[in-house]
């Protein structure tokens, strides 16, 4: 079926190839710049801040900055997958609280770290899978479904803890939160690992590519034989699992499971992703963008506190910087399109 009338094919390529080649070449450099513009811009920002803001560029501060985005960073990795598949998850804040509380309770009852971590992770995975089933199989709108789980899981966190913080005294468990390796706290290492794993997952695995496909065009994905429902459930399950891990780490950092922790967390995570160029319409995600989105959020907060910006003006600044970040991005892609 493959042979083609040679004359025609040849002049076809003779005519088209040069223009194509050329534009591909140009495209690549441009493309790279465009792809990496967020990281580059952040790098620039970082350098500027290092020179202008006292105490910014110091090991303690950078480590502190990274610690401050550890939870957001972890969950942003899976939220990226979730948004890439054209879904949405509001329940992550509650899941953080619940898994932390649950882990703390199990730990205090049994003194078994395995049971505590296992229990917390299992709960997260179940919540995630529940979201997935609701959304993929029962076709409930993702916003409403995860809003419902957000409420229910928060309720559960309050109920199991009777609304009280659950103390943790197990030293081994606590050391997860403040121990260090190569000078970096474990939570920072974990979030770094998450970015690595999910970067590879997104770009180099069938799982990641199929995720983008179902977000980019669910019908096309289904027609190509991808099991869309199953994949969506896996994505949510993973999200629940990683979120639970973040919750357990948080619990170990603050040496207690707090049922009202991480309120509004979902919005922070989603914003970091969107800031990093993940599209709410699905089908578009870049791990470096998400990393930068997370770092911008953390850096802004860090710098404002270093500069002692008044709490009320912090709101203004944060809004302003969010806008500036996307407007810059906007200008850049506009410029590229023009050229």
């Amino acid at each position: 079926m493959s042979s083609l009338s040679p004359a025609q094919a040849d002049d076809e390529s003779a005519v088209k190839q040069p223009t194509l080649k050329q534009s591909t070449g140009m495209k690549t450099t441009q493309h790279w710049l465009q792809e990496q513009s967020m990281p580059l811009a952040y790098a620039l920002l970082f350098v500027v801040l290092s020179f202008t803001v006292e105490n910014f560029f110091s090991t303690t501060n950078i480590v502190g900055l990274m610690l401050s985005v550890a939870q957001i960073g972890m969950v942003a990795c899976t939220m990226m997958m979730c948004l890439a598949s054209r879904d949405f998850d509001l329940s992550v804040g509650s899941t953080i609280a619940f898994s932390g509380v649950l882990g703390a309770i199990i730990l205090e009852r049994t003194q078994s770290i395995t049971l505590a971590v296992g229990g917390g992770l299992l709960a997260g995975a179940l919540i995630g899978a529940g979201n997935g089933v609701l959304i993929a199989y029962l076709r409930v709108n993702a916003l409403i479904a995860t809003l419902a789980t957000m409420l229910m899981v928060r309720g559960l966190a309050f109920i199991v803890s009777k609304g009280q913080a659950v103390g943790i005294s197990n030293e081994t468990f606590i050391s997860f939160g403040d121990g260090r390796l190569f000078g970096l706290p474990y939570p920072v290492l974990v979030v770094a690992a998450c970015f690595l794993v999910f970067g590879v997952l997104l770009n180099h695995t069938v799982f990641g590519r199929n995720t983008l496909a179902i977000g980019g065009n669910p019908d096309a994905a289904r027609l190509a034989g991808i099991r869309v429902e199953r994949l969506r459930i896996w994505i949510f399950l993973l999200q629940g699992l990683v979120t639970a891990l973040a919750g357990l780490i948080l619990a170990s950092r603050i040496t207690s499971g707090q049922p009202n922790s991480a309120q509004g967390f979902e919005l922070d995570v989603i914003s970091a992703c969107v800031l990093g160029g993940v599209s709410l319409q699905g089908g578009k995600a870049r791990i470096s963008g998400v990393l930068v989105g997370v770092l911008i959020m953390g850096t802004v907060e860090n710098v404002m506190n270093l500069l002692d910006v008044d709490a009320f003006y912090q709101y203004l600044m944060r809004g302003f910087i969010l806008l500036a970040a996307v407007l810059l991005d906007q200008l850049k892609s506009h410029a590229t399109r023009k050229s």
């Binding site: 493959s2 025609q8 076809e12 088209k16 591909t24 289904r222 190509a224």
Partner: protein
């Protein structure tokens, strides 16, 4: 193809019902290996529905499907693929942000332990593309390609499956001459390789050129199967399809052509860097022909103001300059454009047929400049539903539930309904439309011209351009390469201007 041979594909009494529509009502036919079997029928006859059943997308409400004599029950598209069936759907189904290679191998990317082998994927795809003689960059993202290239990619996706049964649903509707030629060659190769091919098209020339046998549908029923395509006269085919005689579908009548009304000078923009000049006379039907990517659509978009016109461009209608302020301004000046891509630029998928018809012209009938006149809108919608024979249970049906051709008719109706129109631009107006309706659309085009309006028809169907236009402008690589009056225009002359390689000879 002896009758003792088991047909490779059989439909038996297949039914599919939608609310208010019997899309398929007991259809039986069979197709044999090593043949191309054409499917014809009016818009909404049920052809695509049949292919969706074949592709595992729909479950039939009755009847069954046999492959090589074995009954198949598909519960998903994956099942059909596994059974050796590939379907190229009428509505393109690609993932915009993924590359050509990823799209072509969607669902079966080469992998090891879940990790995609990108080099392998690229290699597989570029090798096959080269074999097929298709010029596509495996690393380009689909959203960066032209529609024709996307359509080609879609076709290649199915061919890459190496399926036994391959079904094409109007594959050439977005292709122009050159690519269609490539496709036909590929299809003939497939036939030679013993595959079973189902081919749906509204272009009769194509069907005659390709098909061995054909089956004709009307209103969800099979009318007849002609085992030997070549033996069927054209009139019989058309009569079977639309249920009436149609001698000359172009219906061209010479008419008085007035002086120049629309004068375009140095029209350029980001997509078309060199300025182009042309003009249209009142009462004239002007055709634009060219190969894919020749820039006809781009030119029209600039004219209509969808894309910003570059400095020095001038568009003058009846002596008044048309402002460069978007389509709204163009419409106010009397220029309307029916876009080429109905899915992306035309339909409001969730809205009703009536809504889709009324959207652009309702501003003429508002109460107090704000309030709608529902009754008037309903009447307008019904009028066009009848006139263009739009197959829909009622005017409130969501347009996305109509067949492809019927959606196209709705979009056309939107523009034909515009009362203040002076210039009517139609970009690929009859894409996916059945012959009967084509005829009706040509008649409307002539009617509009007879009223003294300028009509511009961009089309990749050469017979259509030759059949209905008073004058033809040909474009090549972003520039106008020449124009021909109706009297001088013929296939060789037009192609001579359109094909780049013939330029030197």
């Amino acid at each position: 193809m002896s009758s003792s041979q088991v047909p490779s594909l059989q439909f038996e009494e297949v039914c599919k019902f939608f609310p208010g529509v019997k899309a398929l009502n007991g259809v039986s036919f069979e197709a044999h290996a090593g043949t191309v079997h054409g499917l014809l029928g009016e818009n909404g006859a049920g052809k695509s529905t049949l292919l969706k059943i074949l592709g595992g997308q729909y479950k039939p409400d009755g009847g069954r499907l046999l492959l090589n004599g074995n009954v198949c029950h598909f519960t998903s598209a994956g099942d059909a693929i596994a059974a050796g069936i590939a379907v190229i759907h009428q509505e393109l189904q690609y993932v915009p942000e993924l590359t050509v290679a990823e799209n072509l191998l969607l669902g079966r990317l080469p992998q090891k332990l879940g990790f995609v082998n990108r080099n392998e994927a690229r290699r597989m795809v570029s090798q096959r593309l080269q074999q097929m003689g298709v010029d596509l960059n495996p690393d380009a993202r689909l959203c960066d390609l032209s529609i024709a290239q996307r359509q080609m990619a879609e076709i290649c996706k199915a061919l890459l499956q190496d399926a036994q049964v391959i079904a094409f649903d109007e594959p050439t509707s977005s292709l122009s001459y050159r690519e269609s030629e490539i496709l036909f060659r590929l299809i003939r190769d497939l036939r030679a390789a013993g595959r079973t091919i189902i081919y749906i098209s509204h272009r009769l020339e194509e069907l005659y050129a390709l098909c061995d046998a054909c089956t004709i549908f009307r209103d969800g029923r099979k009318i007849v199967t002609h085992p030997v395509m070549a033996d069927v006269p054209r009139d019989v085919l058309i009569n079977d399809m639309v249920g009436r005689e149609l001698s000359d579908i172009y219906d061209y009548r010479p008419r008085a052509i007035q002086s120049e009304r629309l004068v375009v000078r140095q029209l350029k923009g980001d997509a078309l860097p060199t300025g182009q000049d042309f003009s249209v006379r009142g009462g004239e039907v002007l055709g634009f022909f060219g190969l894919v990517g020749a820039g006809r659509s781009e030119l029209m978009r600039l004219l209509y103001g969808v894309d910003k016109r570059g400095g020095g461009s001038s568009v003058v209608l009846d002596g008044t300059a048309v402002s460069n302020d978007g389509p709204a301004a163009a419409i106010e000046a009397g220029i309307v454009l029916c876009p080429e891509d109905r899915k992306e630029q035309g339909i409001l998928a969730q809205a009703s047929v009536a809504e889709n018809i009324n959207i652009s012209c309702r501003r003429h009938g508002l109460l107090g400049g704000l309030f709608l006149r529902h009754k008037r809108e309903a009447e307008l919608a019904d009028r066009f539903i009848q006139r263009l024979k739009i197959k829909t249970p009622n005017r409130e049906q969501e347009i996305r539930l109509l067949s492809g051709g019927n959606q196209q008719k709705v979009i056309l109706a939107r523009w034909l309904a515009e009362p203040g129109m002076k210039v009517l631009i139609l970009d690929e107006p009859t894409r996916g439309i059945d012959v009967g309706a084509k005829n009706e659309i040509y008649r409307i085009i002539h009617e509009v011209a007879e009223r003294g309006c300028c009509v511009i028809v961009v089309s990749s169907e050469l017979p259509e351009v030759l059949g209905i236009c008073d004058r033809i402008i040909v474009m090549r690589e972003g520039q106008i390469s020449g124009q021909l009056e109706r009297a001088q225009a013929n296939e060789t002359a037009v192609l001579g201007l359109a094909l780049p390689d013939m330029q030197t000879t």
